[in-house]
């Protein structure tokens, strides 16, 4: 991965900066609104929401080396917070967002206490296990639609004020949340907290020999990333106005990993670009053929095989066999 980072184009590095990313999002939204498209804001809002979830996962993977295969769980918890609170008549954003964040962070921390006993592939699988358990629990909540899910009563309000009337409003909000998150997580990465996480990831023995245990740092990272995914879930529920266990399916966790890895984990902005790439492929190929996933698979495969690799070596390898 280091070789790639070194080669990681001087020409495009600027794309990974939060300010540039947010400016591009804002520009796209402005163009969409100016041209009067009703649909483009929907797609932009969706992309920003998924990017938000992907960025939180990227922080876990890139900084702490914790590859969670269960990140759909906190995303779903955020969405269910909106649904369940709504059923009790609570739609105030000042309640929903903190609630979604807290519930998701609590889940991630509680499962993290156990999951952090494991490393590597075992960590990947235990996070998957926890997320699957939650997926089945959500499917059994017959009061909230069970496996089919349920529509939310109304989008979030601000003391009765409906501030998310259109998807444009929602996109503005999602882009802002993405921007704040990128800034905060970059700060956190640059701080001693991030250093501790990265050292723990690269050389755990060394930390141990210094008498340091990154457990608490990792747990905080898990909780923070989970909480942010929870915020993304709150936004997602408001955008779709429907909540179902499908949000917590392991496929969603897999797609988030694809976004993160496709964009590269070196910088948090990569996850945003990965999310954009997946959405663009979905939106374009999906209209040409019902077999669009074939194309998506080829792009993913090609991107990994060609990335940073020496093309001649690749051909020689093939001819060799």
């Amino acid at each position: 991965m280091s070789a790639r980072a070194a080669g990681g184009g001087a020409g495009f590095a600027f794309l990974f900066r939060p300010a540039v990313l947010i400016a591009l999002f804002a520009l796209a939204l402005a163009v969409a609104v100016w041209s009067g498209s009703g649909y483009a804001p929907t797609i932009i809002a969706r992309t920003a929401i998924l990017a938000l979830a992907a960025v939180s996962l990227s922080f876990l993977i890139g900084q702490a080396g914790l590859v969670s295969f269960g990140h759909a769980a906190p995303l779903g918890i955020g969405a269910y917070a909106v649904l369940i609170a709504g059923e009790y008549g609570v739609t105030n954003a000042l309640v929903l967002f903190p609630l979604g964040f807290a519930a998701a962070a609590l889940w991630s921390a509680a499962t993290g206490v156990i999951a952090l006993r494991t490393r590597g592939v075992y960590f990947i699988m235990i996070t998957l296990a926890f997320a699957q358990m939650l997926f089945y629990v959500a499917g059994s909540l017959s009061a909230f639609g069970g496996d089919d899910g349920l529509g939310i009563a109304a989008r979030a309000t601000f003391f009765g004020q409906r501030f998310l009337r259109t998807d444009t409003d929602l996109a503005v909000f999602a882009i802002a949340a993405l921007g704040v998150t990128l800034l905060v997580l970059e700060r956190l990465s640059a701080a001693p907290f991030g250093l501790m996480l990265r050292t723990g990831r690269a050389n755990e023995e060394k930390l141990a020999s210094l008498g340091l245990d990154p457990f608490v740092h990792r747990l905080v990272a898990l909780a923070a990333a989970g909480g942010i995914a929870g915020i993304a879930g709150v936004l997602l529920a408001n955008q779709v106005e429907y909540v179902s266990p499908a949000t917590m399916n392991w496929h969603v966790s897999g797609e988030l990993i694809v976004m993160v890895v496709l964009g590269g984990t070196k910088r948090l902005g990569g996850a945003v670009l990965g999310a954009v790439a997946v959405m663009v492929i979905d939106e374009t190929l999906g209209h040409f053929t019902e077999f669009w996933k074939f194309g998506l698979g080829l792009v993913i495969l090609g991107a990994v095989l060609l990335r940073g690799a020496d093309l001649t070596q690749l051909i020689r390898g093939t001819a060799h066999g």
Binding site: A6, G7, G9, A10, G11, F12, L15, L24, L27, A28, V31, A32, S35, G36, S37, G38, Y39, A40, T42, I43, I44, R46, T47, G139, S142, G145, G146, D147, D148, G149, L150, G151, D167, L236, V240, E241, Y242, S244, A246, T247, L262, G263, G264, L273, G274, V276, A277, M279, V280, I281, E283, G286, E290, W292, K293, V299, A303, L306, R307, G308
Partner: protein
């Protein structure tokens, strides 16, 4: 060293989003103002076969009508809902806001329909289901803009309950997946069945192995079992039911389990098993004979009820457009036209109730191997005549 291919790829991707966004925003070139239908179907993942049948039935009708509905040039935009409610909502918004469709049709699964009905109906766009028929849309949540070219979910299960009652079965075991539609299936069955339900077995959604459940059934020796196992789950259950030696011994009553989407896979294992339906390929109406022949010629397989409903949905739209002179813009007129069900259904008797759901006949059908070697369902007996659904009284529409 220059930028790596991936970096270039993402940069390109980002640029293309901006482009795409502008392209999408360009006002749709209004040429001859064709009728636009957005067709939502499940085309990927395990249950894709159902969605393909439904879509092909719809497209066959449009093709037979010369690419026109109601004499108007017609554009059908097919989208894949991936059986994910949030994906479906986003794609349906695209259909309404970008493609400006006049009508949304399709939906195999109730959860997808329940997710998209809110934005579609709030937009006062007509929504025509070619399969899913969840109870809220038939009852309190009914809408003047919603019509079903299929059935209300409970009805098909009730058919089997009535059949078990008529046959004098005393002890029945119910087995369905553990989700809302499974619970609804059990409730629908029990509405007309007055005997003893020995056990209600809930299985995992997408379950592969039914050995534990089959062993229980074998031990309990009921008069019959009733099951609702759509798609691949049904294939698994039917194969294993036959292998366990139960197929000849305990009558197998089902809904959405034995049909032409699964029969090519289950073949002989399913022959003789029963299902509830409002249609079968051998139903004797002139429209149905022509449809089945055309479908088998076009696609080389026997149509299922999903295909028949897709076909009927297109014919319904065609008839309503003819009545309004090809216009959807006068919504009240188009609604009235739809409500009069101005088409000849492949099912024969077909009229709309006040809630937009059909009043029609229901049958018990049996899987057979036809003389030409293909597997299909055949009408066994009629169970309900001109039946309305159980929720219509809750619908405020008159």
């Amino acid at each position: 060293m220059p930028a790596s291919p991936t970096r270039r790829l993402v940069a390109l991707a980002l640029a293309s989003t901006a482009l795409a966004a502008t392209a999408l925003a360009a006002p749709a070139a209004a040429l001859a103002d064709p009728v636009k239908v957005g067709f939502v179907s499940t085309l990927s993942g395990p249950p894709a076969a159902l969605g393909v049948h439904m879509r092909d039935g719809f497209l066959l009708a449009v093709k037979e009508l010369g690419g026109k509905l109601g004499g108007q040039p017609t554009e059908v935009i097919v989208v894949d809902d991936e059986l994910k409610p949030d994906v479906a909502v986003s794609k349906v918004k695209a259909l309404m806001e970008r493609d400006k469709v006049d009508i949304v049709a399709g939906t195999v699964f109730s959860n997808v329909l329940m997710a998209i009905q809110k934005p579609v109906l709030a937009n006062e766009t007509f929504l025509i289901s070619a399969n899913a028929g969840p109870s809220p849309l038939a009852g309190k949540g009914c809408s003047p803009f919603f019509f079903s070219a299929s059935y209300q979910n409970d009805q098909v299960h009730s058919v089997m309950g009535q059949y078990a009652q008529d046959k004098g079965f005393k002890r029945v075991i119910l087995i369905t997946p553990n989700y809302q539609a499974g619970k609804d299936a059990m409730a629908g069955f029990k509405r007309n069945f007055k005997g003893e339900v020995v056990e209600e077995i809930f299985t995992q959604l997408g379950q592969l192995d039914f050995s534990a459940e089959l062993a229980k059934i074998q031990a309990a020796k009921p008069d019959a079992i009733f099951t609702f196992m759509p798609g691949g789950m049904g294939v698994n259950l039917v194969k294993q039911y036959q292998q366990a030696g139960l197929a000849g011994q305990i009558p197998f009553l089902s809904s959405f389990t034995i049909d032409e989407t699964t029969l090519p896979a289950t073949q002989d294992a399913a022959v003789g098993l029963l299902s509830g339906a409002e249609w079968a390929p051998n139903l004797d109406t002139p429209q149905n004979k022509a449809f089945v022949a055309a479908y088998e010629k076009e696609y080389g397989i026997v149509p299922s009820l999903y295909a028949a409903q897709g076909y009927d949905a297109a014919m319904l739209i065609d008839g309503a457009l003819k009545a309004t002179g090809g216009k959807v813009s006068d919504k009240e007129a188009f609604r009235k036209a739809l409500a009069s069900a101005p088409f000849k259904s492949v099912r024969g008797d077909f009229s709309f109730n006040t809630n937009g759901f059909p009043i029609q006949d229901f049958y018990v059908v049996k899987a057979v191997k036809r003389p030409d070697g293909r597997y299909a369902t055949e009408i066994q007996s009629k169970v309900f005549d001109n039946a309305a659904d159980a929720y219509v009284a809750e619908c405020p529409l008159k």
